[in-house]
Amino acid sequence: MSRRGLLRGAAAGAGAVALPSLLTACSSGPGGDSKTIKLGSNSSDAVPKKAFADAFAAYEKQSKDGRKIKVNTVDHNSFQENINRYLQSDPDEVFMWFAGNRMQYFAKKGLLYDISDLWQEYKGFTPALKAQSTGADGKQYFTPYYYYPWAVFHRKSLFTKYGYEAPKTLDEYVALAKQMQKDKLDPIGFCDKDGWPAMGTFDYLNMRTNGYDFHKSLMAGEEAWTDKRVKDVFDTWRRLLPYCQKGANGRTWQEAAQSLQKREIGMVVLGMPHPGQQFPANERPDIDFFAFPEINPEHGQDAVEAPIDGFLLAKKSKELKNKKSMESAKDLLRWLATPKAEDVYLAGDPNNIAVNSGADLSKYTPLQKKSAELIAGAKQISQFMDRDTRPDFASTVMIPAIQKFISSPNDVDGLCNDIERQKKSIFASE
């Protein structure tokens, strides 16, 4: 081999190393097919994946310009973990994400496309929905699609069998739990192996004790976790623990929902899709719920935790620089915001409810109807702890803290001090 050949070989070798990055850099330059909309999806579970496929097919069918959607589905958790890098490198034009703080965080970083103009056309969304779709700068970035409430779920038949009544207040809740213990049931299902399900209980306890406004400022880092009001929340929680399933840190939400299905527990605080997905189809009509009981009469049951999922435009997407592609992407959002688009989706996934007031309620299951009423009657809608506060705070501080509380609930002071110290260092980093 000649020297030149060798050098050429070396250059090719170096090229091979650099090649993958070059390839990704020019995989999809602007000026591509402006009628094909690329959409990043985190709906990797079978039921929602199928339902979304139906909805997108319906969009393609009604599109007079022959627009198509190319869905790029990523595993739900990986999508979440990579969202930062995804939005910064070469994202799809449209992507699925969550409302609230988790959206605002990226809006603030300039990674989302302002769609305030679309919001002027949108119809059928309540002011609360608009607020959850709005960034800190007052512009809208998010098109809501569906949501689902968190509540205390139980089996209708079990409640009838023992003659239980849905409790209104915490005292009634505890009394019911005591009765269930007498009836040889584990009263309250409890799970936190995944780290997030118990956050829902905290959110409700805090909103019922201290009100939505305090909850919101606590999540925004404006209140101290060492405040007596927060400690009260943990004290109330400790009062409930004797009636909760033991070993929550070793139990997934699937297992908790299954113990509800197997009639081992009396009730459980979860989101609507959770029991929905774990019950066999013929037992689903037996699922029922009541709103989380009142603790402080001043706040009653006025707040409902109802995380909203929806669609956004990624600012860094190269295609969006092309006017025609942008028009296509906006056309898709406009369609997704219609009641009909939601109806198509919900036909395939009855574990959620539509956000648009014009959606067709006639096909709702009784459970969906009740959920819609619950949310409609709410004065305030919270998202969920990991959507209402900073993602780094929720995942690196609150998950370990709540798990620690569950396994050793007696040192509330130490726990709150721990959280507050870490909160200060995280919220100070900006």
Partner: protein, 304 residues
């Protein structure tokens, strides 16, 4: 043509390398060195630098000095448990799994009945990734639906093997050791096969007992295998990640350093500066072992 150049250069006397040789050497050494710098040392140094900043992966990089480290040592509850768990992992694999693997290897090497069957059964877990071992562990240890509680029959008050923070690390170590033992056993088996039988014969002629033969004759000849096993054990314990991540994302009693790094850097959190500081700690611990090992090896090389 190539040969001619070589001969001519040889005649020229002192110069040992032609330009051509130098180019070849330069390219062949240069590419790996470049790759090493770009892929290994670059990111390593970048981590060290980033560990003194606060950066969320999007905005500007702000210099914060040693604040991340101060935070880490005093104000991050999972940190010290993670350090303890990594060391415990090392001790458990080194002091339990390795000797047990050696024992199994010796037994099988002596040709107990069905030794081939044992050999393959014990080796089986090695082909599984630790993440898969984690899933299997959950099938066995899960509180409500696990095999172990079903077998023990304590349905009244079942033990929460994976949820109790005082207990779960031991269960995970057992699962990790299940795999590691097979790995170690195979390495020792290969080593034992290579021991010259005449050494053992000589020992038995001299009247050595079996134990004496093993500890004085066989074991010293296994030195190269011991070194490999030691290195593998250290690597396995420091990079422990997949199994705890599969079980509960390394929380609530299963903290290890690598998970804390991922939680802070890869996750939605993106506390890249803080996560880098944890990575630097992990690097420092690993360097301790690497340097000790290299020093030992180089000394051994010299004395040989």
């Amino acid at each position: 043509m190539a040969l001619n150049t070589a001969r001519r250069s040889g005649r020229r006397g002192r110069r040992r390398f032609t330009r051509r040789d130098l180019v070849v050497l330069g390219v062949l050494l240069g590419i790996p060195v470049l790759l090493d710098v770009a892929i290994v040392w670059g990111p390593t140094l970048a981590s060290v630098v980033l560990s003194f900043t606060s950066w969320d992966g999007i905005g500007s990089i702000k210099w914060v000095g040693t604040q991340n480290y101060a935070n880490l040592f005093t104000n991050y509850p999972p940190f010290w448990p993670a350090v303890r768990h990594n060391l415990l992992w090392l001790a458990f694999l080194g002091l339990v799994a390795v000797p047990f693997g050696l024992l199994l290897a010796v037994l099988i090497d002596r040709g107990v009945r069905f030794s081939r069957f044992y050999q393959s059964t014990l080796y089986m877990p090695v082909v599984l990734s630790l993440a898969v071992v984690g899933f299997i562990a959950q099938l066995i240890f899960s509180r409500d639906q696990g095999v172990l509680n079903a077998v023990l029959g304590n349905t009244k008050n079942p033990t929460d093997w994976l949820g109790d923070p005082n207990l779960n690390i031991w269960m995970i170590l057992l699962a990790a050791a299940w795999r590691h033992t097979g790995y170690v056993m195979i390495l020792y088996l290969a080593g034992l096969k290579a021991v010259d039988p005449s050494l053992k014969e000589a020992a038995s002629i001299d009247g050595a007992s079996e134990a004496q033969t093993f500890f004085r004759i066989v074991f010293p000849t296994l030195r190269p295998v011991n070194v490999i096993v030691g290195v593998i054990t250290v690597i396995e314990s420091l990079r422990a990640f997949d199994i705890v991540y599969a079980v509960n994302h390394g929380r609530n009693g299963l903290e290890v350093l690598s998970v804390l790094v991922t939680d802070n850097i890869i996750g939605e959190a993106s506390r890249i500066g803080f996560g880098s500081a944890i990575a630097v700690v992990l690097l420092a611990v690993s360097m301790g072992f690497v340097v000790t090992y290299l020093v030992q090896e180089i000394r051994g090389e010299k004395s040989r």
